[in-house]
Amino acid sequence: MNNRQRKFAFVAAILFQLVIMAGVWVNGFYPLWLGEEVRLKTRPVDPRDLFRGNYARLHYDFDTIEPGASADFRPGDVVYVPLVRHGDLWDPQPAQASRPESGVFLRGRVTSRPWRSGSRVTFGIEALFAPKEKALALEKQLRHAAVAVVRVAPNGRAALVSVNSE
């Protein structure tokens, strides 16, 4: 490899990193840009993450597939949770394997095998990053009555906007 080709290869390597960073950004940003806003009941727990800083982990009623239905889903499977509006809040419907033809729905991924309490599903809206004190305070204040404001893109990808009291 001569010097010119080497230079080109290095530029390509740096561009590759830039494309990955842009991809991660677009993946996080486009539901905020294109999505519809929904409000979902949640419970913040477990702040702290070694790599990504402090955060409050958010639990939702729909992040576990019931034991009866969970046998149909394997880890890694994509699941869809349709949402139905009831006043200010949106209620989750039972998870399904096929994409709903209409309406607002969340797209998630099964991350555990079926167990007594069912299978765990993640939707990309489980982590609210905040300073340690704020994350701990959120956990205490909002333990029983919190609402996650989420924007959901037409394909079901969701992005967390904020967490408020009910």
Binding site: N3, R6, K7, A9, F10, A12, A13, I14, F16, Q17, L18, I20, M21, G23, V24, W25, N27, G28, F29, L32, D49, F51, R52, G53, N54, Y55, R57, R74, P75, G76, G108, R109, T111, S112, R113, P114, T122, F123, G124, I125, E126, A127, L128, F129, A130, P131, K134, A159, L160
Partner: protein, 432 residues
Amino acid sequence: MQLLGLLRRELRSECRQWVDDGDISAEQGERILARYGTSLEDVSDGSLAYKVLVGVALLFAGMAMMLLVSANWEEIPRAVPMLGLVATTLVLNGIGVRHFLRDGSGIGWLFVGSISYGASIMLIAQIYHLGEHFPDGLLVWALGVAPMALLTRSRVIALLMLALALFWLMAEGQFSPPWAMVLFLGCSVAVARMACSAGLMIVTVAAAVTWLNVLLGWAYGYPWRPDIEAGHLTLNMGLLALIFMAGHRLSATTSVYLRRTATLLSLWALRGYLLLLLPFTFTEFCEGYLKELETVMDPGLWMGLLAAIPAAWLALRNRSAHPLSRGLVMGLPLVMVLLHGGISESMAVPVTVLVNLLVLGSAIVLVQQGLLKGLSQYFYSGVALLLVLGMMRYVDLVGDYVGGSVLFLLAAGILFLAAHYWRDRQGGAGHE
């Protein structure tokens, strides 16, 4: 085996002393050191301390950057820290590339640039609260570092990539079979070859062994999760045999770095073999292993055979290894099939006795080879193995008191015969 080649710094220092004292000429000193890929003029000792300190300083700088990112700068608009970190990554990598293309330096800049790149990914994930599948962050971090490692042929950047890939392997391995690891292993081997680095090659082999164990776990638990089964021991028997024989095969090469790799591979395979054998000297462990083993359809057996059969072929062709180790490696595929297909848990006691005798034989060979070839590591490993075996058998009897006593008598007899054989051989050699 060039165990002395692993102590090049000490060897260089000793050799300089011999030359200064007039015990050997400088030319002789150079010839001795050339056998181990070094020379009297090698000044890497001083620069090594510099490199290590700078390396740790850069790592600390990278960690400082990660902590700053983790501090959640909520008061600052989102775009500012994100664009700041992306720009920092570009600047660091730009300076690094410029230095590297000019005179081959700049690895430090690129190393910190690679950490800054990872910090940028984490920051973007933090700003947008991305928490769906965190191993993906580690995967794209390692993917972005891989081309830099290949282009610079840098061991440090390759080690960073491999460390990230291993973190990803452990994290992703819980959710799905981590196939992408093959990319990082290939990249690491390529850098190790281009940089002539025995250390990186050994770390890559260790990472490959870990990866194969995770894959076997998935073969057992697919599609739900990776399971740890008795067949993992069978796989590791085969892998150790292959690594050991590959080490012997490579030791014949003229390349100094490959000879050093071969020495390290053989040494660590030997240590692994001894560690693997010791639990099998306990009846309960042997019984549990034989009970848990699945039939000949066990994926652990088939993956183990994929390693053990080439190892047996290498043992058949390579006569440089000791006859006991060659015999064990050649017979391993048959032993593995027998363990999975023909031996039931009711035969645990005879199998345990055989393994105890095998450990005894291995210890005797290690002591003998240690003395014969002047390899102190072998000698002391053999002595330590004998003492550990004696202590374990005294605490944990095989076949009650009478059985334990018979085993000790048998061991004493074998040791006595080996000692006499050794003395007679030494005497014979003295007369010649």
